[in-house]
Amino acid sequence: MRRALLLLVGFAVLAGDIGLLAGCAGEKKGGAGKGAAGASGPPAYGDALVDGSIGDVSGFVSAVTSDQPSHAAAGFVFNGLVRYDKNLQLEGELAESWEVSKDGKKITFHLRENVKWHDGAPFSSGDVLFTYRKMIDPRTPTAYAEDFKQVSRVLAPDPYTFIAEYDKPFAPALASWGMHILPKHLLEEYPDISKSPLNKKPVGTGPYRFLEWKTGEKVVFEENPDYFEGRPYISRVVIRVIPDPATMFLELKSGGIDYMGLTPLQFTRQTETPEFKNSFNKYRYLSFGYTYLGFRLSHPFFSDKRVRQAIAHAVNKKEIIDGVLFGLGHEATGPYKPGTWAYNPNVKKFAYDPAKAKAILGEAGWKPGRDGILAKDGRKFAFTVLTNAGNESRAKTAAIIQQNLAAVGIKMEIRTVEWAAFINEFVKKRKFDALILGWTIPQDPDLFDIWNSAKTGPDELNHIGYANAEVDRLLEKGRRTFDMEQRKKAYFRIQEILADEQPIVFLYVPDALQAIHKRFHGIEPAPAGIDYNFIKWYVPKGEQKYTTFR
């Protein structure tokens, strides 16, 4: 029901709900004994779940928003044709089934019949067609048009069949139809869907109906009793906006909210008390995102591969994982998540070795000056790393790297910039030496937009300016075939090249850490995290807390 889209991880991901970034190896903590809660009864309808979010929703049409709170909220109301199941395999949502033609150029979706929009109008292939047209409409301010521009022709031969054709095979095509389908009958008259009332008062096909949005305060959804996959047990979902993380944690403890993402510190130290464990279950799983130290590759220092490799040796990733994540995360070695099919575990690794780093830098011509700082041709090795303000983990990571680099004679200044300015003034304009940032890891391994040498325009995502002909070729190859083995081979090789070239130093994949009130049952951690079966969560009759709203 919630999907991680390809986007820059910045402020947005800080937003309480890290559950968006689904992951694997679910591990349930706390909840010492279910036996104690003998009252735990059978599934029952009713009660409400209150979720805490740092940021407010900006709109419900997810095509035109790019922040996590908005995507999370839209996920309650809207459906796509397909989605990822608990094992991260694509399955039908609004589509009952689909066929991909032999040559991979044509996908035929068979849609569910008898699906109704929340206003009672029937859902049909016309809505899918309409959504597609809006995605490629230049008047739609969307960041996700690229996948749909690959489509050469669409057809809706009958109300329950939808066909998309491509000129060339396009591997991410199927996943791209997870985009939320919009109601044609309510949007037709609006040239720019971001300005339509639907963006504020959504009407979808999803498990929850929109009830109210009080900007800056809360969003409320109520169950859709006619949901095509069955009526959700939990009657209401409230997303409360609480901008300060310290306040949010106190709200959790006092019962004001039921569900929030925890920081590593909260997870390891502050929630290990008996009171907390009596009221909450904690969940931990590897998230779908990684943090990295990136270089502007046109910078004279960093254009030299040896320098980047030396820095990779000088950075103590273990110290970062211990110090920043309290051990709750994995070392990152490439742009994929450990344990997924595209992840190559056997790439070149850079052990923490300051002596070796110094030696490599020496080879590259960097010799220590009298003040201990390396210099070459009279120029000192001093640079500034940028990161976004308000992200405690990144600030801490920067501080550790600063100390690591000082040990090998590199002077690194840290500058934190608030998110909007960071992206617009520095990242897009390429005004940086180096930066600490994060990427989400999409379920489909196609990373064309990030690593292709053609994607270096100001609004494009290859902001470090990476260019490697072989990687370009492999990226194209990987997206033009549906053959898993071939794709895997291409992506494995890409990871080897990236690991060797170190255009960015891959730092860590953090764990997603969640706390949920104990009265919620039916939560089953899976590779996709915990949110995938939200409509099956329930509170037994005797434990229900909010009972007065009807």
């Binding site: 944690f249 130290r269 801490k396 501080a399 550790i400 934190t416």
Partner: protein, 286 residues
């Protein structure tokens, strides 16, 4: 004026100041933190930026008298170095505000007429804007470096001073000694700087003392919003902000910077009030 008389005025002032117990207490606090920030290395041998992930969030101990923070840095070291930054923000910001305020007030009060009218309407308008909003807005245009913060707090905080100085100037320029100086052929600049300025300084000193307190508070509020002095440079504001997320678990991270800000601001206020009373008994408590 004769040296002797100045001497006795100063003595008189000090005698009155010392009699005010609250002012003395405030002064002691101010002096304490001043000494602390002047010699940070004497008070803590740790490096305020030395990270040690094996010593994260340790409660106060013999080696770390105020404990360690979320990166294992010594809190005492960060507090004493932070004192330096916080006080610097306070003093420089107030310096800027006072300079602008003095200039505007002197010119306005001395020349009067349309200059006065224009400047004072400008002051009125500036006073209408919520200062903190204005500071946030300007920070949005610039970036939150320590220099910008000092500059912005200074540039948005001079209006009160200028009104005070103007009022003082208005009454001073009618006094005999100004007329006497003018009769002796002194120019405007000389009269302003030689005769009016020194006599207008007392209320400025009071407002500057209070201003330092306000600037320290403003910096901590900016830090809370993430746009104050940027880490890893320690300031009391950002130490407290980092500490608030661990407020129940690691109390030493928020209690010490919280109390330091509280006592310092309190100290400057009490001292400022004391100075005001001591300078001019007629103005007591004003």
């Amino acid at each position: 004026m004769a040296k002797g008389r100045e001497h006795s005025i100063l003595l008189d002032f000090l005698r009155r100041l010392v009699r005010n117990r609250l002012a003395v207490a405030g002064g002691a606090v101010v002096l304490f933190f001043f000494v602390l920030s002047a010699f940070p290395h004497v008070f803590s041998r740790h490096d305020p930026n030395r990270i040690d992930v094996l010593k994260v969030l340790q409660p106060p101990s013999a080696d770390h008298p105020l404990g360690t923070d979320e990166l294992g840095r010594d809190v005492l070291a960060r507090m004493v170095h932070g004192a330096r930054i916080s006080l610097k923000v306070g003093f420089v910001a107030v310096g800027i505000a006072t300079a602008i305020g003095l200039l505007v007030g002197l010119v306005s009060g001395f020349y009067g007429g349309w200059i006065d009218a224009v400047l004072m309407r400008f002051v009125d308008i500036m006073l209408c804007f919520p200062t903190f909003f204005l500071i946030l807005a300007v920070i949005a245009f610039l970036e939150p470096s320590i220099y910008n913060i000092m500059l912005v707090i200074g540039v948005t905080g001079w209006m009160g001073v200028s009104r005070l100085v103007r009022a003082e100037t208005l009454s001073l320029k009618e006094r005999d000694f100004v007329a006497a100086a003018r009769a002796q052929g002194a120019g405007n600049a000389r009269i302003i700087f030689r005769h009016i300025l020194p006599n207008a300084l007392a209320p400025v000193l009071v407002s500057a003392t209070l201003g330092v307190a306000g600037a320290i508070l403003t910096e901590s509020a900016l830090s809370f919003l993430g746009i104050g002095v940027q880490p890893p440079t320690p300031s009391w504001g950002n130490i407290l902000t980092a500490g608030k997320d661990n407020i129940e678990f690691a109390w030493w991270l928020s209690v010490y910077p919280g109390l330091a800000i509280l006592f310092t601001v309190l100290g400057y206020n009490l001292l400022g009030e004391g100075i005001r009373d001591a300078v001019d008994p007629r103005l007591r408590g004003r």
